[in-house]
């Protein structure tokens, strides 16, 4: 029986010729990612258990992001614990404030994500890295602690689901609209414990940034990981971003690999989508919700805070004013600089936006744009659960950067295709 990309990567990591769904394996971890909210508890656990060791100081990447720069005293204490630990263990890739950014944008950009590798991180959106033909999955603090100390974790090999994407995206339609369509079809637990493999000609027209938006949201369908095969677009991105370790292994799914479910999509028919509160599966075409008044637009996060996203927003904002509170959060310092160099900050300033420092910030209701009771926010982020961005009676509407920007200009949910850009 053939194997999928996910199975091949996990077999390699477990030192086995082959694995099958539901096999329990101990996998070697290639990259352990550490962020501020969930890593300090792992550090404390290791210290308390007498396991204060790191398996390989060159395979751990550390960045504060969720509450950085520290939003309050308690967050500052978390950052301090992580900083002391990273320096004590001489972690080679430690992105201190000034170079720190939203982890899932930062790690690929800084060349830490390679095809065929196993990456774990204490953040559920670690599935983003599958866009590179890698296996990325989110874990809790105890798993993280175990991985830091031993470089290994137990996994149950997930069965794979295949999502076949056909057709070219229409104007004003982006990968965010595709993934919201996928989740609307299968539901927030439609891929529970499963690998979500995306294939098909639509992907060839997507940049790595756009692909990362798709794999980023695999967890919003309950997926263990999202994965997209390697191609020329992947290679070009890697050629531009890999630094210290530039070799990698490309895995492809066998033709006779087994999938528990196959879903096909005609992407040329997909409209700009908005996921209504309070589940990411609440996606509807913009035509069904346009006109709903908003109080805030939030453009940023590991889903859609990359330079390509900011360029789209810049095109829409050029020469216009926003009608509601609009917060733009470039995901990393490099993206921040690029946006500045390209004149996008001038456009955002003229439009009346706030431009923030890289942070996860208000995506998870931390800071830099938290919502009051009754407020509604159109957001390029990934979750719209009750209270996600602030008060439990606030509402989050998930959309692409283009839809969020068009809605910011109009002050209500708006079809971005109405605006020439």
């Amino acid at each position: 029986m053939g194997m999928t990309i996910t199975e091949k990567i996990l077999a390699r990591a477990a030192g086995k010729e082959e694995v099958a769904p539901d096999d329990l394996i101990d996998a070697r971890i290639d990259v352990v990612m550490c962020v501020d909210v969930t890593t300090p508890p792992a550090i404390t656990m290791l210290e308390e258990k007498g396991l204060d060791q790191v398996f390989d100081r060159e395979k751990i990447v550390v960045t504060p992001d969720h509450f950085q720069p520290a939003k309050d005293i308690k967050s500052a204490e978390l950052h301090k614990r992580m900083d002391e630990w990273a320096r004590r263990h001489k972690i080679k890739y430690y992105y201190k404030i000034g170079r720190a950014g939203v982890c899932h944008a930062l790690l690929p950009e800084q060349g830490h994500i390679r095809p065929g590798e196993v990456i774990i991180g204490p953040d559920s959106h670690t599935c983003t890295y599958g866009a590179f033909g890698a296996f990325g999955t989110g874990v809790g603090s105890t798993d993280l602690a175990a991985a830091i100390a031993t470089g290994e974790l137990w996994f149950k090999v997930p069965a794979s689901m295949k999502f076949v994407l056909n057709g070219s995206l229409g104007p004003g339609v982006y990968s965010k609209d595709v993934i919201l369509t996928v989740i609307a079809r299968i539901g927030v637990d439609g891929a529970l414990y499963k690998a979500m493999e995306f294939v098909g000609p639509t992907l060839a027209e997507m940049s790595m940034e756009a692909r990362m938006t798709m794999t980023n949201m695999a967890i919003e369908a309950g997926g263990k990981n999202g994965v997209i095969g390697f191609d020329d677009v992947t290679k070009q991105y890697l050629d531009e971003h890999l630094k210290d370790k530039t070799d990698y292994t490309v895995y492809e799914s066998d033709e006779d690999a087994e999938y528990v479910r196959v879903e096909e999509f005609d992407c040329s028919a997909i409209e700009p989508m908005v996921a209504l509160p309070h589940l990411p599966s609440g996606g509807v075409p913009i035509g069904e919700c346009a006109g709903k008044a908003m109080d805030q637009a939030y453009i940023g996060s590991c889903t859609n805070g990359r330079i390509e996203d900011l360029r789209i927003v810049g095109k829409i904002f050029k020469g216009k004013k926003v009608a509601i509170r609009t917060i733009v959060v470039p995901a990393t310092p490099t993206i921040w600089k690029q946006a500045n160099d390209e004149g996008l900050f001038d456009i955002f300033y003229e439009a009346g936006c706030v431009i923030a420092a890289p942070t996860c910030g208000a995506c998870l209701g931390g800071f830099m744009g938290v919502l009051a009771a009754g407020e509604k926010c159109v957001s390029t982020t990934n979750r719209n659960f009750v209270g996600r961005m602030g008060h439990p009676e606030s509402e989050v509407y998930l959309a692409s950067p283009a839809t969020a920007a068009a809605s910011a200009v109009e002050g209500k949910l708006t079809d971005c295709r109405k605006i020439k850009y």
């Binding site: 508890p41 656990m45 989110g138 809790g140 105890t142 637990d189 263990k224 931390g366 979750r383 009750v386």
Partner: protein, 160 residues
């Protein structure tokens, strides 16, 4: 005396279990004070040590925050009976030595406030109030081994 706190809901997510506004600490007692706050603001005042949460599909979906498990255990909850669990929450529970129960029947056969007794070895939930027994499939061996060793880190230490 373990009482059931029943939430006839699917997809009870980590933002409802412990909102991110409290994630600036990993102090378990502090987290427990806000457990399930955005779902049921009276939960913490109602719950007693040993009580049990009963819910629908996909319990614990969303974030990887282990704080969700710590908040629930900190509040004194003995176990959770759900139709299914989100993947990361499931791992986090096992890694913390916290036995959780998958049962497709729990939600139908348990009412809020029912008195429950659980035989983990036999895979049996005894609803003493309703006078019904509900069978469940005990956790797989590898998970039991981690739980019996007191969590993943203790488990690893034993193997080292």
């Amino acid at each position: 005396m373990a009482h059931a706190h029943v939430y006839k809901r699917d997809h009870i997510n980590t933002d409802e279990i412990i909102p991110a506004r409290y994630l600036n600490t990993d102090d378990k007692a502090e987290l427990a004070k806000h457990c399930l706050e955005d779902l049921d603001k009276d939960f913490v005042s109602k719950v007693q040590a040993g009580d049990i949460i009963v819910a629908g599909e996909d319990f614990g979906c969303g974030s990887s925050r282990e704080h969700a498990v710590w908040a629930i255990r900190g509040a004194g909850i003995q176990t959770i009976i759900a139709k299914s669990f989100a993947r990361i929450f499931y791992r986090n529970a096992i890694n913390n030595g916290f036995y959780i129960i998958e049962s497709s029947e729990g939600l139908e056969k348990i009412n809020n406030g029912d008195e429950l007794e659980i035989d983990y070895k036999a895979g049996l939930i005894k609803n003493k109030t309703a006078g019904v027994d509900i069978k469940f499939k005990p956790l797989p061996g590898f998970a039991l081994e981690i739980i019996n060793n007191g969590g993943l880190l203790e488990h690893i230490k034993k193997k080292m």
